[in-house]
Assembly symmetry: C2
Homo-oligomer: 174 residues x 2
């Protein structure tokens, strides 16, 4: 079967968001065990002018839902960025997975040349569907998940690359 726009997007988002959800569980358990206020981890940053953990999770979900919606020609669901606890962040991931999982392959497939325009800060960006997926949505999505992971690792949360790849959920094998 040929690589499709759907296969290169939705299942990748699903797998990595599922892995991220389990990473949040480990972070939450770590905070509890060590008597660390979860807000410390949730507001942690790698640099003073980088976004905190909560915003990294929000942005990862934004790229997943934004990409799935835009490629399918659907309106992008709007979530308010108010999550400030692990359960709230997990709920956001769950909402994202629900939306992403509702997009059908036939809505996304064939979107290679679909024009995609979006605002990124002050910039108005225009892409074809496939350039948007390959050069913008996937790099950004993995950027924010990895940065969220890096913030937790930097703060001692016992997670590893296999967690990032979803091995614990049996997702590592192709």
């Amino acid at each position: 079967m040929s690589l499709s726009m759907f296969k290169a997007s939705v299942p990748a988002f699903q797998r990595t968001l599922t892995a991220l959800d389990a990473i949040l569980d480990k972070a939450s358990a770590y905070a509890e065990e060590r008597k660390i206020d979860p807000a410390v981890l949730i507001s942690a940053r790698l640099a003073p002018d980088m976004y905190p953990f909560s915003r990294q999770v929000q942005m990862a979900t934004d790229h997943a839902k934004g990409c799935s919606a835009r490629l399918a020609g659907l309106p992008v669901p709007s979530f308010t960025d108010t999550e400030a606890t692990f359960p709230e962040l997990k709920a956001r991931i769950a909402k994202t997975l629900e939306f992403v999982g509702s997009v059908r392959p036939d809505q996304i497939d064939g979107s290679e040349e679909r024009p995609v325009s979006l605002k990124a800060g002050p910039r108005e960006l225009s892409f074809t569907g496939q350039d948007y997926l390959v050069f913008f949505a996937l790099p950004n999505f993995y950027f924010h998940v990895t940065t969220a992971y890096g913030i937790l690792r930097h703060n001692g949360v016992p997670v590893g690359k296999l967690d990032f790849l979803g091995a614990a959920q049996g997702l590592l094998q192709g």
Copy 2:
């Protein structure tokens, strides 16, 4: 034009490695300006049991060359992991870009079902070509580039998301 295995792999690696190369220049300039021994940045880590910056760059290039070679059914070029300076790391990126750029679309296209086996630590992993690309090579590649970027950001190097996306090289537009 349909999304192809080539389009989803080689151009993505080329773009992000080009961006990473420019990020190395900024890190090197920052070290010089601040009279920081470059080795401090090159050996910096986000956590004591994470790989240092140099190894993150090596692993990003490993995934780029490994994926391009495996999908094309070519032997994976072997590089010794000895880089310890910014010029040496830049040379590794250049060597990787040279190899990746030598792989032709017709060698990679149609590799969706090509069996790909590799060792990841103690695990022997087996994938189809498309599962390997979507669920292993791309997430790992972006993981290591993002972690390299995060290490530099954490150490004050003045780079931003637009550097990660290659905007300075005019690569952000699709």
